[in-house]
């Protein structure tokens, strides 16, 4: 989806949400920030479900399709992640699926994930997954 199409989708969503639910949104932010856009998609679907504004759904789908191009990782609620993982046949938090054996060589002498597995900033155990960024600036600054 081109950038202008993303902005047009965000503008449509902005108008619809204002008319249907009274929620005022930031169009520019919606078209450029993946976290905010994800929240708007969730909100639109929730309102479509709870208040019957089904015309929000196609625009929520279009906006969701544009999110991966916004350049930031898409954060999903843990419950949703777990449901998706179960559907995909994975055990949440469990071992990674076995990958094919590597060809060998120097690269194989270190864990595949390298720095991502570092516990330097998490002496208590597993690395944190960064989900806090979903709520980082909501209701608090520090």
């Amino acid at each position: 989806m081109s950038q202008s199409e993303t902005f047009a989708t965000a503008a449509h969503m902005h108008v619809l949400l204002r008319r249907k639910t009274g929620r005022v949104t930031d169009t520019e932010w919606m078209a450029t920030n993946a976290v905010y856009a994800t929240e708007i998609v969730r909100f639109a679907r929730e309102k479509a479900d709870s208040e019957g504004h089904t015309d929000l759904l196609p625009w929520a789908d279009k906006l969701e399709a544009a999110i991966p191009e916004m350049g930031a990782p898409v954060r999903k609620p843990l419950l949703q992640k777990a449901q998706e993982a179960l559907r995909a046949g994975q055990v949440p938090g469990g071992a990674r699926p076995n990958s094919a054996p590597r060809a060998g060589g120097f690269a194989d002498s270190v864990p595949a994930s390298g720095f991502a597995e570092s516990t330097l900033n998490n002496p208590g155990g597993k690395p944190t997954d960064g989900d806090e960024s979903d709520t980082r600036y909501i209701g608090r600054l520090r």
Binding site: V35, Y36, N121
Partner: protein, 455 residues
Amino acid sequence: MHQNRVTHVALTVGLPLAAPSSLWAQAAQSAASAPVALSAPGLVATSAISGADTAWLMVSTALVLLMTLPGIALFYGGMVRRINVINTMASVVGIAAVVSVLWFALAYSLAFTPGSDALGGFIGGVERMGFAGMEYLGASAQVSVSHIAPHVPESVFAMFQLTFAIITCSLVVGALVERMHFGALLLFSSLWLLVVYAPIAHWVWEPGGWLAQLGALDFAGGAVVHINAGAAALVCAYALGPRKGYGREPFVPFNLGLTMVGTGLLWVGWFGFNAGSALAADGRAGLALLVTHIAAAAGALAWMGAEWLARKRASLLGLCSGVVAGLVAITPAAGFVSPRSALVIGLVAGVTCYWGATALKRKLQADDSLDVFGVHGVGGLVGALLTGVFADPAISGVEGSVVTQLIACVAVLGYSLVMSAVVLWITSRLTPLRVRESEERIGLDLALHNEQIGH
């Protein structure tokens, strides 16, 4: 604390004080009369002025002004959303201007002159309105001095104290950003300076003030500046209500790089704030400078540690906040404590201010937007109380008392809470406090100033 300053200064410049010269002649008296220790601002011979102390106080004045312009403007401007940066910075500049004029017109006199017999412990007089009597008479080799700092020109002392008034009023901005009318803010700040700041400065720093008489220690403004600003900020946050979308939408800071630059200016400027409050270029000022730096570093490490334990992250904003927490807490103690005590004060402040800006903030349920109470209010209280614990008589000749410090804290906190609410109510009777919702949504930069920070 000025009483302590005066005692110290008298010891420092003991020779001129003891000399049977015209050094301490009152303005109305002849220069040839017997030397009299000043109890109010007056004229002295220019030879009584210490060049080194005056130079240091002038440098300190510039440093403290840098803390506000642009220190606080950058520090706060970086933390608000992009649509409100201009308004936040304009608020700081506007306050600096209006406070300066009012300081000249009335506030200095209310804060730093002795006042009448009946009310002298609570508010100063009006004899220095419009800086009346603040003279430099080169022809007769006389210059007016404050009785609080009789070895530097009163013009320098008044200017140094003005920078404290400016930064105190500017600190409050952090609680009301992104939603308060610019005009209402300037009106509130004007009234607050006269009704809240000037009396409290008088209580604590004028030798006749009732807290100074009680023996409360506040070297550079833990109570006068930080507890006072924190309390006013909390009142403003409650009175204005939360920003639209607060608690539901992410309020992403515009540029934490600006906040870091602001923190750097605050850190350096604080050397003028605390070491300048010695009112002399001497060993005590050097000690104040040293403990200021140690406490700032300790505060940053403590905040970082607390954040690390709680969230597994060490954020830049956390480090900057810890620096400020340590600086706030050492402010009342700077001329009274040893470097080791400063380390403890900084560490305690870092942790308690982290709690103040997170858990306490949630409990208070006020949209204190940039955590003015959490950092300055809590840090000021911690610093003031720990001054009572750690004040070393070998350093300043005075012993701290936790009970006296507690009384001072409660008095300043209570007065500031109540009178800030009154001032805010008066302001609301004259002009709307809060912008319209549509203005808040598009941002105060465009709505109030017709300017944008850029992309």
